[in-house]
Amino acid sequence: MAKKKSVNVLEHDVFGDFEEFLKEVQRRPHIRLVKLDDQGLVEPARKGRAIIMQPRVRIVVTALDDKKPEILRWEKKWDVGSGVVTIDAFTGRGKCNDPTGKLTRAKVKAALEARSLLVSDGEWTKQSAEAALDG
């Protein structure tokens, strides 16, 4: 018996701009669900000859286009404690004070729901998407 061919999910280039991500998702109306995750991570970064362990916040929004199949991804990372993050997508004005990431997460969620998208927690990865589509 022929072996069942497993799905190969592609990863679209990461969108640098949230508006572009939204436009792409809306161009594919069969996408109804997006996943939103807010993670904390510590990344080593060089500072002169020494290194600092920089706590950061990462917000990531992923959508799985099951027809293609392809993962669309927008993400933003910033330093915890820097206090300032630039989110142009919602206000168009630039900066907001958000050292914890909560505000950004809420704004992203609101922007997605306003476009009638269902938002669930988590992140699509190549492995999870292939497992889901392989069923």
Partner: protein, 252 residues
């Protein structure tokens, strides 16, 4: 007639989160060091080292996060070695087995796995590296840390890690996963150094380079920042700041 006082009311200083956090970390360091001073029996020291670290972590965590010791086991019965500290999500996943602090978890339930050593020498380095390796074999998402109260100096530590790697490469010749199963960080409190991936390394994760550097901040602080940030506790984020190392002493 009573004269009106011209004294200005004393202003209350604004909260200094950084000082507060620094003091809490110093308190934690003292507590761990104090316990090590009074217990000399090797076995007891080991259990005490693990229990104290679990307790220290627990103090900072909301009820959502469970702290135990145990294994990670996948549905196909692949099992990790026993790890000293497992931090797992009690809301999202139920342990397969739980008896007091001992837990058996399914993959993805554990967010952080910590190997705790009271003295990190050649044998203990091998054991700790192998245990984290076994965790990452079953659950590649878990963060793997090694925390040691004391041990050999950084130069000797690096030599032992290189020797361990040579042995491991010979063992897993068929499909070498490279350094993807190495711990994400190694901390040594008394010798004051830590090992971490090189931020400038552009090689594939299998060949990523690691650096060793002394801590300019207390080692416990590096450990707690790493652990609490990984758990995504956003209310603690304002307390966090970048911890500084000294100059890199070794590359491996």
């Amino acid at each position: 007639m009573a004269r009106k006082s011209t004294k200005k009311p004393k202003a209350v200083a604004p909260p200094r989160f950084d000082d507060y956090w620094q003091l809490r970390m110093e308190g934690a360091t003292s507590r761990l060091k104090a316990a090590q001073k009074i217990v000399s029996h090797t076995g007891t020291r080991g259990s005490l080292a693990e229990a104290l670290l679990r307790e220290l972590i627990r103090e900072f965590l909301p009820q959502r996060w469970g702290v135990g010791t145990g294994f990670i086991m996948s549905a196909d019965r692949q099992r990790s070695n026993q790890v000293d500290v497992l931090i797992y999500d009690q809301f999202a996943a139920s342990p397969i087995y739980r008896d007091g602090e001992l837990v058996i978890l399914s993959p993805k339930a554990a967010k952080v796995a910590v190997e705790v050593k009271s003295y990190l020498n050649k044998d203990e380095i091998e054991k700790a590296m192998n245990n984290i390796w076994s965790v990452k074999t079953v659950d590649s998402n878990a963060k793997g840390l090694i925390f040691s109260y004391d041990g050999v100096q950084a130069t000797t530590f690096v030599e032992h890690v290189k020797n361990w790697e040579r042995k491991k490469r010979a063992e897993v010749k068929a499909s070498p996963p490279g350094r993807t199963r190495w711990p994400d960080r190694v901390f040594n409190m008394e010798q004051n150094f830590l090992m971490f991936p090189d931020p400038d390394c552009v090689k594939a994760p299998e060949d990523r380079q690691y650096l060793v550097a002394p801590g300019n901040d207390p080692i416990v602080r590096f450990f707690m920042t790493e652990t609490l940030t990984t758990l995504g506790l956003d209310n603690l984020r304002p307390f966090m700041r970048a911890d500084k190392t000294g100059n890199v002493s070794h590359t491996l």
